[in-house]
Symmetry: D2
Subunit: 357 residues, 4 copies
């Protein structure tokens, strides 16, 4: 009987409608409902704990978030240092750049005739359109920027810092790349070759065979060294993909060189994939524990939802409830301006994994 009561301690509290309630109110009350409503409320609570704890927060973004209207939420998270290091697909950075340069994505319909769109050079992402001619012009812009760089290998971290700087100087516009540049938050893009940014870089190479050298292997080392330098980490992931795996890989690789590393202390993912097909995007956070990607006692939550629906609610609420925590937070200070990155004034070793300090 004792055991039974152990299971039946916290009742579900039916959500009561209150006109005028804020996002903060909503999530406070959704802590006591079930299923993905509760998961979203839990996500807010766990993120807030990360912010209050002394840890490095990795933030992975996949899916068409920038095209879909989420890029200013992401730039807010960077600028206000809800996160310490961004790992992104190339597409999210490219669509961000597209808008920071003053172009737009457009509201469309998933039922539109695609042959008609093709004829008009309009690219569709589900219910969203883009002008392909503008994309072609972006690629040239990226090629031109790339040709301004030195003829030596760049990590994606250094390349994207310079890209953000160039974009900021040209546009003064708000966005993911410019916010990361201004806040000195590193961005890694492990699959840069699988994106329009990579295509733009390849067009620079086409003009100058020594241009566009990207050193993705050094990215692996920098990201692992980041964990070795400060082994308490957290992972926030939207949508799976390469960012999700890269963040976990950094932790696993770091552990190989330093046994103080024991997996992320907190993990939060907003995904639409499911675990039972074996893909990494849908993998559960429980499974991540077996790999040591996550500490065995890590606080964790998976929200099974589309980020375009979940994120506006989550971050609006967090902006209210985490205000004081954020103000008190002392985020890592990075220097990203050269081939050798520094944290809190101390450079990272170059081209090797950092020894235990």
């Amino acid at each position: 009987m004792k055991t039974k009561h152990r299971f039946l301690r916290e009742p579900v509290e039916p959500f009561a409608v209150a006109s005028g309630a804020t996002a903060d109110d909503l999530l406070a009350r959704m802590e006591r409902v079930s299923f993905q409503g509760r998961s979203l409320a839990t996500a807010r609570r766990i993120w807030q704990k990360m912010l209050a704890d002394d840890c490095t927060i990795f933030f992975g973004i996949a899916g068409a978030l920038s095209a879909g209207g989420m890029r200013l939420i992401i730039s807010h998270l960077i600028a206000q240092r809800y996160v310490d290091c961004l790992v992104s697909t190339g597409a999210n950075l490219y669509h961000d750049l597209h808008e920071t340069r003053g172009r737009r994505h457009y509201l469309g319909s998933p039922q539109e005739n695609d042959a008609a769109l093709q004829a008009e050079h309009i690219d569709r992402v589900y219910d969203t359109y883009a002008n392909e001619d503008e994309f072609i012009e972006n690629d040239e812009w990226i090629a031109a920027f790339t040709l301004t760089l030195e003829r030596r290998p760049y990590t994606t971290r250094e390349y994207l810092y310079r890209l953000g700087e160039y974009l900021w100087n040209e546009t003064g516009g708000d966005g993911i790349l410019t916010a990361a540049y201004r806040a000195n938050v590193p961005i890694f893009c492990p699959a840069i070759a699988d994106s329009s940014i990579g295509m733009g870089i390849s067009q620079a190479r086409d003009r100058d065979a020594s241009a566009g050298q990207v050193d993705v292997i050094a990215d692996i080392m920098e990201s692992a060294n980041l964990v070795i330098r400060r082994p308490r980490t957290a992972s926030v992931v939207l949508g799976g993909g390469t960012p999700k795996n890269f963040i976990n890989q950094a932790s696993v690789q770091a552990e190989f060189y330093d046994d103080r590393v024991g997996g992320h202390r907190y993990a939060l993912q907003i995904v639409t994939d499911v675990p039972h097909f074996g893909g990494a995007s849908g993998a559960s956070l429980e499974e991540a524990q077996s790999w040591g990607k996550l500490a065995a006692d890590a606080e964790r939550v998976t929200v099974h939802a589309d980020a375009t629906l979940a994120l506006p609610v989550l971050i609006t609420a967090l902006a209210t409830s985490a205000r004081d925590t954020l103000a008190a937070r002392k985020p890592l200070r990075f220097d990203l301006s050269g081939p050798v990155m520094a944290v809190e004034g101390r450079p990272f070793p170059h081209a090797r994994f950092e020894a235990r300090t």
Copy 2:
């Protein structure tokens, strides 16, 4: 070139974080993002149009919404007449009754050991627990109530009205059944035999072989007559299942007897199933047009999301923005107290489809 501009008219407007924003603010800005975030905002807009139009709004609920903390949102929608007729699974009404009777559901974990729960008589619904012993006691209560009724067939509509009345008289508690009773909103439960309410009724039958007569065929006739009486209809569905189909069936059946009926004028569904497996729960609203379940020009939106996440945001926003519309709305007045139901004082034909008026 003209055509091209036709496609690129309304830009995506990146969502900007505003601490303290209300649900109403959130959805206003989510109208201009993409994917399911936009769908949710569109759902609010379409529901508001339904309320402003002269139409009968059917509301279908499937999935574990009551156990999951959504029952007071649903009772609010009934009491405030955002909807005119509820179609429900038995489980949602049963779990509502459970809480209105003072019992609770509990916050649990999807990772709990189910053999341990079984040993303790705890029933799990994903991350939510219930005390099975209390469920057994509910069944008896339903049997006892059923034995108070006359020994004649009841539509589920009449049966559930009486159940709401009995529950209200005993508890004075707020919930779906009691709100529908008090607001004279009809509830149909086409699959009542596939639920614990059906099980409770069968236990009444066990004690008295003439008890517990349920006439589900007359439900079909009443629901179609409801459409025939006022052929402008709308459909709001959470989660698919029998409620989704029953609401569409009413429209199709009505059309057979009256060609003024031309399918729902508005349709809104919040579902997690997908169309490509052919199941009715996931069927698209486009497909529904081929059947004439939906008018060919109906305004419609599908939100691919868990209702426990989407509904609190949607209804909190709607409660603000639809206030005036609701105040001006003149909802249908029902008399549900007898075997023959009446709308606006005029009884429905008994056991036949209403002729064209």
Copy 3:
């Protein structure tokens, strides 16, 4: 180290392509792959165990299986007694009847213009079309049949037996209803009011107010008594919905009256829904254990796949590997011809739950 080896005992055996391999071969080798390939192979093994064991096999079918070309697989399973009792949605029986009566469903496209289809009276189910005019004619046929019955309540079990008989006598055609009639396999349709069969019955009622009496509560009692009579049961479910729940409910209700009942000994489900939204269709078989729907040590498997893909492979393989087991199987013999059903010559109690024998 010992423990480690315990986990690493059975290696994955990469599937090697063998031209000309039979379905039986395929599944034999898929036992050693991962994810849903393995699940399908496991499903074959578990079904075969059910057949070899002394148990009553319930079979639930939801989704558009009949329209989608699966009805002769289902009739094969009934005729050859791979299963002992069918629980179906109305739609699957209706679409079966449609084809047994010589009408067809048609290959179509999910991208077709639905307004155009509506104009032509063509109903679309994802990539499949039907002629709505023929559906209307079916409804009349069902009404006419219903008017041949006595003016008293029928369980869906008795009604569907008579429907199968009538259909067989008229058409001599193969299908689900006719196979069940000929093999004396009971069919329950708990949500009959939510289907075109229900609509046809309501049209009979429209002509004669005393026609079309369906007693769905007695269905609950008969299905529970079936479990009480022989408490070793198994559950095979395609697609969730009301059939999945009704089969579990029979077990739970039976347990209330007889504590020898301890949940299904075997469970197999082929579903496309997922557990994390709390709906019954997607509920895991682990969760079912907490309710006692499933024995705590039951052999079980969930195949996350569309049944139109999984079923042809699974049953073709099973037809080979289970041949001897089927030949040796002594399935329950039912008499379904009257209001009182009999098993092995012994009638079921009427309108009460059977006492422990």
Copy 4:
């Protein structure tokens, strides 16, 4: 009426169970069922058409296919030249290497306790286990191999060719990497930095700062040049991810430099993601047309299924039905042994996009 008949031409043919049927028989009959069963049969038909046509077939693989027992199917497709160019995630190549080196993956359970697995150094992928200590040893092996290479940038195409060669010489074992080496089929791995292969390379760099140079930008150029050289292409994708996008990107990039390129002529994808969340993995093939990734009149099919279930059936059937077509096929002959790749004896331009020939 004419129009109506146009829609109702090809009836669904119910699948009839035939014990002993081969995979070839199964798919022949599944052409006439609905939903994903039909999609799988259509996939076979379209792949066969690709093989009969004069086109270059790109093959993308994502998800845990190698760990899940699919690697010998993939190596069969390479060796028998069902495909001309592989694009893979790093994980699939790594898990392939793991088994070719004589290690195994193991059958496990998705319900296992992950903290226990972590304690034993066992990594879980849904229902599959691997020995983490063996993975660590693989990483060292990859580092050692990498140190045998010249100290200059390698495309992933050249790197993986050398890796396959080294692996073949050491093990003589069958697998994806060794089959591609022996058949001279190029492999691209655009996200190599996001995988254990990348981690192994980084460990080589750790020992020698000039080792492990990977030139992912040149991969973009080689893949686009491959399309420019022979603009008729087809795309077969399992599971989405970077391979799906990289294959489409090659087509889009090539079109920028050569307007004879007009998108893939055939497209086949087996995916579990859905379009409505906007992610690239789930994007529909219709959407791909708007981008020009796919020709407007391309034959195409999406199979919504887990590849571990669909692929064994599909390829076993194709192995039978495509035998003659394969024998007659004249696949592209590659020379992959140097930094400059050649097709049919003619080298590709180095570090620039090929001019129109």
